[in-house]
């Protein structure tokens, strides 16, 4: 009786959602039993949640759980073998990889989406048309602390008024990536800006301050677009798109919005992936990511990239492709995965 009600409700839900909701199931038969423990980055959480939610619906005997410990915290639990899958907003670090090897863990590295970092200003700000990476560096580098405090210090024809900076807190992967991409060194940044781990706070800050400049996740810009103004970024590298480019789905996906778009990953323990429910989950995720990722506000990879990632998983290729590269700034996933 209870089951039939649940079935009716879910059927009704699916019906009301219409055609866009068709996800591909990996197997016609549902998997019986098992646990899948997911943890990791709060940035990747909405994506893991979407995968878990849909996978759970089709395999309701499997218990999928997702926790949020941050990218670093997730890797720690991953290396202690407490979880099967961890979400990461940056590739695994060399030190983390060494710890994993020591603990006898092999893992699959699976890119799932792109996340853009948006540089935004208040809509009343009429003078900023675009910013170059060099200008952003001048604003955010540690040496700018207490010195670069007015708009006209960035470009002389901009007004002689204070610049109010807002950005991600130092504990977030967003902060790590922004500093690495702009200043050139992870975590190198001036300290005299309004920092918050909660991007919604930054949105409020910029929306109410004509002189503000901020960076945060692209999804937060998209949700609050009427209250904000996006700043196109020029990386002075014409090979990936000429001039200043604003972030949007297509510029993030084709790699022309550089250097402020980054890949997001899930890492899967190889021993866990030998279990049917985990491998089914990974396959499900890769097959449905292009439908599920946009719903969470992130940008999906190209379908060719998903195919490449799936091929790596199917052929049991473990390890990270980023250990040699030092950085993911400006890296095109498709090229990296093809080389392997």
């Amino acid at each position: 009786m209870k089951k039939s009600i649940v079935f009716l409700i879910s059927a009704a839900l699916l019906w009301s959602c219409g055609g866009s909701e068709k996800t591909k199931s990996t197997d016609s038969t549902a998997i019986v039993g098992g646990d899948i423990k997911i943890d990791g980055s709060s940035t990747v959480y909405p994506i893991s949640e979407a995968f878990a939610e849909e996978f759970q619906k089709e395999n309701n005997e499997v218990k999928v759980t997702v926790a949020v410990s941050g990218t670093g915290g997730g890797f720690k639990k991953f290396i202690r073998k407490e979880i099967d899958v961890t979400g990461a907003s940056r590739p695994i670090k060399k030190s983390e990889n060494e710890d994993a090897v020591k603990a006898g863990i092999e893992y699959y590295e699976i890119p799932v989406a792109y996340d853009g970092l948006a540089v935004v200003i208040n809509p009343q700000n009429t003078w900023v048309d675009f910013l170059t990476v060099e200008e952003l560096k001048k604003i955010w580098e540690p040496a700018a602390q207490g010195k670069i405090v007015k708009w006209n210090q960035i470009r002389p024809n901009w007004p002689n008024e204070e610049i109010h900076l807002f950005g991600a807190g130092t504990e977030s992967g967003t902060f790590d990536y922004f500093t690495e991409a702009i200043v050139g060194e992870s975590k190198a940044c001036r300290g005299d800006y309004t920092a918050s781990e909660d991007d919604n706070v930054l949105v409020q800050g910029v929306a109410g301050d004509k002189l503000a400049l901020a960076f945060f996740g692209y999804a937060y810009y998209k949700e609050n677009a009427p209250k904000l103004k996006i700043v196109p970024i020029d990386d002075k590298n014409d090979t990936n798109g000429k001039g200043a480019i604003a972030p949007n789905e297509s510029s993030i996906i084709d790699g022309s919005y550089q250097p402020l778009s980054r890949p997001l990953f899930i890492y899967v323990n190889k021993a866990s992936a030998d279990r049917t429910e985990v491998s089914a989950f990974v396959n499900y995720a890769l097959q449905n990511a292009s439908i599920l990722v946009p719903e969470t506000g992130y940008v999906p990879l190209t379908s060719a990239t998903y195919v490449l990632a799936k091929k790596r998983f199917d052929t049991k290729k473990t390890g990270s492709v980023f250990l040699q590269l030092e950085s993911t700034v400006g890296v095109k996933l498709e090229d990296v995965l093809k080389v392997e």
Binding site: E53, T65, A67, E82, N200, Y220
Partner: protein, 298 residues
């Protein structure tokens, strides 16, 4: 009378009296306005939460699991988890905390050791909650192998509120007049009989109030539970204390930080539910206090 008195006093004295009167009324208004600030802030908070969250609360919201779509997401796993944690924490913390309080107040002789214990318990009440989370992670989750289960969460939160329970138990035991104990001894009762039949019943309203307030604090905690590995996405309700779980504050925290405004509304709705649980708990505390106090007759 006062007028006559004032007339008889010298001019200087009258002046001084007037000064004291104005001083008094100034202090009264300052204190009143500060009380007002607290109430206004609470009012604004409630208005804000209710205006954005109230419309979101319906049966589906209470009986659905988390979802990437804000409109179909619910707090079923979160409020059942909170309920589990609440009951289990009470079962663990109540006997331990009250016994410790009775021992320290009634049996403990004033020695150096007891002084050290006392100071430490007062200090423990001021330790940040995340520290208890780390303790719980190492001892319960890892060393004892309980993992991120409800039991680990309840044990950790019990540790967190034990100092509060012990202190409030001792305070309410202190309110029982010593003459009651002496009367009991005079009638030939033993120490145990005195405590069990006289002291405890008389102090029970205070003890229970303290415990309930401590539990209300425990169910609002997020940090220690995040540390021990409480989850965020759970699509089953816990059926035993070894199950993994999530609680309302974690769900709220997660929704508040999402980019979509609809999730913020969900968070407001979940806050209303959490507030209701806290209010109900406090209501029970007030009621019990009122009822049991009437029973105590000396």
């Amino acid at each position: 009378m006062a007028k006559k008195l004032r007339k008889r006093m010298s001019h200087k004295h009258t002046k001084r009296l007037k000064f004291y009167e104005t001083q008094d009324s100034i202090f009264k208004y300052v204190a009143m306005s500060f009380t007002g600030i607290g109430i206004i802030v609470l009012g604004l908070l409630l208005f804000n939460v209710f205006s954005s969250g109230l419309s979101r609360i319906d049966w589906d919201f209470l009986t659905s699991f988390p979802s990437r779509r804000a409109s179909s997401a619910g707090i079923f796993a979160a409020w059942t988890g909170t309920l589990w944690i609440m009951v289990l924490t009470t079962l663990i913390a109540f006997p331990i905390g009250v016994s410790a309080g009775i021992y320290m107040e009634e049996y403990n002789n004033k020695s150096k050791l007891s002084n050290i214990i006392e100071i430490n318990i007062s200090n423990l009440a001021g330790v940040p909650s995340i520290i208890y989370g780390l303790l719980g992670l190492e001892i319960f989750a890892r060393a004892m192998g309980l993992g991120g289960s409800i039991l680990t969460g309840a044990l950790t939160l019990s540790l967190l509120i034990l100092p509060i329970i012990i202190v409030s138990t001792r305070e309410s035991l202190k309110t029982v007049p010593y003459s009651i104990r002496e009367a009991s001894y005079a009638l030939g009762a033993s120490k145990w009989q005195t405590i069990w039949a006289q002291v405890l019943p008389a102090s029970l309203p205070g003890i229970v109030t303290g415990v309930i307030l401590a539990i209300s604090r425990a169910i609002g905690e997020t940090a220690p539970l995040v540390v021990i590995g409480a989850l965020t996405f759970v699509s089953f309700i816990p059926t035993s204390f070894t199950d993994e779980f999530t609680v309302l504050p974690i769900q709220i925290f997660n929704w508040v930080s999402r980019p979509q405004i609809e999730f913020t509304q969900n968070a407001a709705a979940a806050i209303i539910i959490l507030l209701s649980i806290t209010f109900i708990m406090n209501g029970i505390a007030v009621y019990l206090r009122y009822r049991w106090q009437k029973k105590v007759k000396w």
